[in-house]
């Protein structure tokens, strides 16, 4: 199998006061044709890692290889063969979609026609519109069209759907899946777990500059002990229902709590549920509510870090 991206012992330290270690030793190996997601809360080091891989930042230490080439030696060739969509690039307001893509296309020695790139992101109808008139989702698609103009083998997308409405997100997912279907490699960062589960063959969960879990979404979810979660809360706000007691519920793997809510990871919900209900009735508790759901990468993250993805991380250490 060919390797699209390989990095070993990657670190990045910003010499600010105090110094910030944004990346503290990351190893990744991504195969050609893979869609790989870097997942983690804001400030985890995702963007820094990605920009090092894109050659926009210099690593403090560590090795990077892109399509078998190296930054510092083969820059021009790497740039010809990769496409990039950065977070929050504001393209020129008063250029049209077509003019913008044509401009980006002109930087590449070969590639698709600008109109082809625009069709790939379904912006044909907006080809003559000024960028300033596009919605957030359309701008993001335009950004991807600019990344596609050089017909790249490897596409980097930094939080491609952050801040977009559900429909726009789905449109972008389709574009990414289409690119992937052509056997190309995608490397994306996201802090949306559903996005990673939907798009990525493998994900690396990053927290505070380190990879804390790596694998297929299914494997990561399985690693927390059960694919199903029973979330419930009790009418009695103060109670002494212990974790030990709850572990007697059939097929339960783990117990976790967040405020009043109790969450059980279980292997077989059809056995666990009657068992739980019986146990609560026996102990004299009444349910306020209960839901059964599939475990997500979000649960993986919470389990691994004890924090929610949306929590503000303490990365300044």
């Amino acid at each position: 199998m060919q390797t699209a991206i390989r990095c070993t012992a990657l670190t990045k330290r910003y010499n600010t006061r105090p110094p910030v270690e944004a990346v503290r030793g990351i190893d990744l190996e991504i195969a050609v044709g893979e869609c790989f997601g870097l997942l983690g809360p804001n400030g985890a080091g995702k963007t820094t890692t990605m920009e090092i891989l894109e050659g926009l930042l210099k690593a403090t230490s560590g090795e990077v290889e892109i399509l078998g080439l190296r930054w510092g030696r083969d820059d021009a060739e790497i740039r010809r063969r990769i496409g990039i969509s950065l977070q929050e690039t504001r393209l020129a307001d008063k250029l049209t979609v077509l003019e913008t893509v044509t401009l980006f296309r002109s930087f590449y020695p070969s590639g698709m026609t600008p109109m082809e790139a625009i069709e790939k992101v379904s912006l044909q109808e907006k080809a003559k519109s000024y960028v300033v008139r596009l919605s957030g989702g359309q701008r993001q698609r335009l950004s991807v069209a600019c990344a596609l103009a050089g017909d790249p083998e490897l596409l980097f997308l930094d939080e491609p759907t952050t801040g977009l409405d559900p429909q726009s997100r789905r449109q972008l997912w389709e574009i990414i899946e289409g690119f992937k279907a052509a056997g190309r490699t995608v490397f994306l960062t996201t802090h949306y777990m559903d996005e990673a589960e939907k798009l990525c063959d493998r994900v690396a969960v990053v927290d505070r500059g380190l990879v804390i879990a790596l694998g297929t979404p299914a494997a990561l979810i399985a690693s927390i002990g059960g694919e199903h979660l029973i979330d419930f809360s009790l009418l009695q706000k103060s109670h002494d229902l212990s974790d030990d007691r709850l572990r007697r519920v059939e097929t339960v793997e783990t117990v976790s709590r967040e405020a009043d809510r109790i969450s059980l990871a279980v292997r077989q919900p059809h056995l666990a549920l009657p068992s739980l209900v019986g146990l609560l009735a026996n102990d004299g508790y009444a349910l306020a509510d209960l839901t059964i759901r599939h475990a997500t990468l979000e649960d993986v993250f919470v389990r691994l870090t004890g924090r929610n993805l949306r929590d503000t991380p303490e990365t300044s250490a």
């Binding site: 021009a76 990039i84 504001r90 003019e99 401009l103 930087f107 590449y108 070969s110 050089g150």
Partner: protein, 359 residues
């Protein structure tokens, strides 16, 4: 697997596309168009009108005499009337000193009631008008005393090329080339940097020099209408004609524009915010506004600092423009000035390319 096939195809030529993008962005921003083209014209119009002709059309003199000898005041007034420029005001008020210091009058003459006592002249030595008024009054009085003195024939130089407006138009042109180049490039560059657009294009195989060159080229293209407007305006409104060759003038203008484009890039090469770059621009421009001969000749400054002044790009540009426009100078005569411009532009561009911050 990646063979550069269409690299020479004009349709996707990066430099061309970059210049086109700049031109489009600029022309689609009406406010920017006004500030670049309208504003300099307004300045030229205002200054040109203010300094259009500068003969001393009026010399204002206050006469203040003792009330018991109105005849002496009248006598003096008659003598002063010998100079048609003099405008006399008979003053009885006590605020004459204030009128003098406020510039409401140029000279105050106190006429004593005792004929043996001398006339008392009050002037404001910091105002050239005041000094002139004193000379004019003295001359008029003397001519009045000695009506038989030989008349003096007066002629004035008012040929084209020597009036103040002739001096001013090339200076304004130089000023526009400087501020246009500096603001045009500096602002746009920093704005693109804050938008992360620079970082985005850096992530492509685009050549960095293409990008910076495109900024300078598009700046030069914007300059053309600006220069044409100003020169046409100068010609039709004030009769400032171009004595030298037009291609040579265009060369000077292009080199001036490119030079300040390079300096603008250098100023903007590290700045992260529009505020920083504005401060730096002013720091660079203000000294040249003063010493480089826009509104008055730079030769007025002390000999000791002349080498510095002459080495400044705006001085070189203004001198070259004046030489070509007013004196019809040829290439050889302005070559040293062009060398100064080329050095400033070339070195600035090279350094900017080296230290340019793309994010």
């Amino acid at each position: 697997m990646t063979t550069p096939v269409e690299s020479s195809s004009g349709r996707y030529h990066p430099l061309l596309q970059l210049v086109l993008a700049r031109l489009r962005e600029f022309l689609r921003e009406p406010a920017a168009v006004f500030w670049v083209y309208g504003f300099p014209l307004l300045i030229a119009l205002a200054l040109g009108t203010a300094f259009r002709e500068r003969p001393l059309e009026r010399i204002k003199i206050d006469l203040r005499g003792a009330s018991d000898r109105p005849d002496r005041v009248e006598d003096l007034r008659a003598k002063l009337a010998g100079d048609p420029r003099v405008e006399v005001e008979l003053s009885t008020a006590d605020n004459w000193q204030k009128r003098l210091s406020a510039g409401k009058t140029d000279l105050v003459i106190l006429v004593p009631s005792d004929a043996t006592k001398p006339l008392e002249f009050w002037e404001e030595p910091n105002r050239p008008e005041s000094i002139l008024a004193r000379s004019a009054a003295e001359a008029a009085i003397l001519r009045g005393e000695y009506p038989d003195a030989k008349p003096i024939e007066r002629s004035s130089v008012d040929i084209q090329g020597s009036r103040y407006i002739d001096f001013l138009i090339p200076g304004l042109l130089g000023m526009n080339l400087m501020s246009g180049g500096l603001w045009g490039l500096g602002f746009v560059t920093v704005e693109m940097r804050t938008r992360k657009l620079l970082k985005r294009v850096l992530a492509t195989p685009m050549k960095r020099s293409d990008f910076l060159l495109s900024l300078m080229l598009s700046r030069l293209i914007f300059t053309l209408p600006e220069v044409t407007l100003l020169l046409t305006f100068g010609y039709y409104l004030f009769g400032v004609a171009i004595q030298g060759s037009l291609p040579l003038l265009l060369l000077v203008i292009a080199m001036g524009g490119a030079c300040f484009g390079g300096v603008g890039l250098l100023i903007a090469s590290r700045a992260k915010t529009v505020e920083t770059v504005s401060g730096l621009m002013n720091l660079v421009m203000l000294p040249m506004f003063v010493v480089s001969g826009i509104f008055f000749s730079s030769e007025r400054f002390p000999e000791a600092i002349q080498p510095v002044i002459q080495a400044l790009p705006l001085t070189a540009l203004n001198e070259a423009l004046r030489a070509v426009i007013l004196e019809g100078a040829g290439f050889a005569q302005i070559l040293p000035r062009l060398v100064v411009l080329a050095l400033w532009g070339g070195i600035s561009f090279a350094v900017a390319l080296k230290i340019f911050r793309w994010e």
